[in-house]
Symmetry: C2
């Protein structure tokens, strides 16, 4: 079986015309070249070089191999260069999946930093929520999945069908406090903090299905069931509804930051509600340079 090493040596011998010169070029000793060529000739089943006096000339078979070696070694060098570009962050694609509108500040900051530091890399973004995003991760449709959770349920949790394996790598980004949002003319608009129970009679505007689920849990823990008039995962819509005086809401601080809260006021609620935002990936992918770099940028963006 002919190996690339053989061809490298053969090419060096053919171009220099001498074993010693080839050894110098390859950075090894002359007997090493001698042995490599002997091994290659043995593999080829025919002499490859004619030792006519001092001159080393390839035979017909040698010429065949030298001719092919050019293309083969060029292909190998191209492959190595391309891989080196990926390893050296001069290239690389990171497919990011994020929960909808949950990362309006995080992702742009991280992507901008990534582009600035490693212009050759590309980051693509698709929106999906767990467990869909985790499925995409496992199916190879993305490298990083941004996710959040309110409790310690596994990331692969499927509402209707058990858990996935929990072999994911979770890089904690931030714990996002949830704040109450009330119309600015609401009695509690200027309060420092309101107990969730005091909002028992208010009409509620809920966010995404999972947020809504958690809201119900928290309220029921406080002794009431919230009356949810509207549910939408579009945070500007939530803010608009609250601003119009149609109800109150609890939503992530991050979301409030990124939406102009006209006509509303944010108040702290007790008990403190927070969600954990993490970047998920697979153990092997975490060691891919572009993925690792993107994870670092996400973490930096979260800690800013």
């Amino acid at each position: 079986m002919i190996e690339a090493r053989h061809l490298r040596v053969l090419r060096a011998v053919a171009t220099t015309g001498s074993f010693s010169a080839a050894a110098r070029e390859l950075g090894c000793t002359q007997p090493a070249v001698s042995q490599q060529m002997k091994a290659l000739e043995s593999a080829a089943g025919t002499p490859l070089l004619v030792r006519a006096g001092r001159e080393m000339r390839p035979t017909q078979a040698g010429e065949v191999l030298v001719r092919h070696a050019a293309g083969i070694l060029a292909g190998l060098a191209a492959a190595e260069e391309e891989v080196a570009a990926l390893a050296g962050l001069r290239a690389g694609r990171v497919r990011l999946v994020s929960f909808p509108s949950g990362s309006s500040t995080l992702v742009p900051t991280a992507v901008a930093a990534m582009r600035a530091d490693h212009p050759g890399t590309r980051v693509s973004l698709v929106e999906a929520e767990p467990p869909r995003s985790v499925d995409m991760l496992r199916a190879g449709d993305c490298e990083i999945a941004l996710a959040f959770r309110y409790d310690a349920t596994p990331w692969g949790y499927h509402p209707a069908g058990g858990w996935g394996r929990d072999d994911l790598v979770a890089r904690p980004l931030l714990t996002d406090r949830l704040v109450g949002l009330v119309p600015q003319e609401h009695p509690f608009a200027d309060a420092d903090e309101v107990g969730i129970g005091t909002l028992a009679e208010e009409p509620w505007i809920a966010g995404c299905p999972r947020c809504r689920g958690h809201l119900v849990e928290v309220c029921e823990a406080a002794g009431f069931t919230p009356r949810i008039d509207f549910a939408t995962d579009d945070y500007p819509a939530v803010v608009g509804l609250v601003g119009a005086g149609l109800g109150v809401a609890v939503l992530p601080e991050l979301a409030v930051e990124s939406v102009r809260p006209k006509g509303t006021r944010a108040v702290r609620v007790s008990p403190a509600v927070q969600r954990e935002v993490v970047a998920l990936t697979l153990p092997d992918l975490a060691r891919v340079p572009a993925v690792a770099a993107m994870l670092d940028r996400l973490e930096a963006a979260a800690h800013r």
Copy 2:
């Protein structure tokens, strides 16, 4: 440094999707595949495979290598096949140099046998005499040089400038008796054998320069200097001149065989004169299958 072996393993893993299956395909054990891939990932500087549960999927870098591997391994296989064709005598070119008109029977027989036995091979023929043919051999302009000599001078002998190295391989083909050629009406035309001395007063027709030189030596050893009226290395011309009664000649039996000796008679001369016909090549070339096969055919043609 990426080796072809790595790419073979990677391709097998990528196509089968499993280390174990790749090992079966490659005819080795699963840990061997495991180690090869670890070595390749180390050389690449980035993970190449994502171990997502049971499934083995290439990363972006892995896909790059798999993509390049196709071309590289195809090139390698093509090179191996081409070399195998040369080694297996399904291809190959032998450049033969022969002394002029000296092998009119030998070479055609051998070439015909070569073509019959190995149709893929090609034999080319150029005429030249030593030392020119030996120079061509050393310069790589041919693989086999047919030569003859009357004594033990080295094959690389240069009339005006010493000897070449004598590192040639000489395959003896035949020892060619030289016969006298006289007009058929000559007094000795029916003699069994004539002493060379009895032809001292005849006009001579000589062959090529070296043959002529040797003729003079032999005659002087017999006590006379031949009067050479014509000298040509064209054997039919020699026969024509003798047939026209313009003189006598001594020429190789092989040459007489291949020329219709009209108007002449061949007689044995004493002392017996013979020349040694050999096929010369370089030690390494002697191991090239096509060259070795051609040498065998030449020897067989000589022994027929």
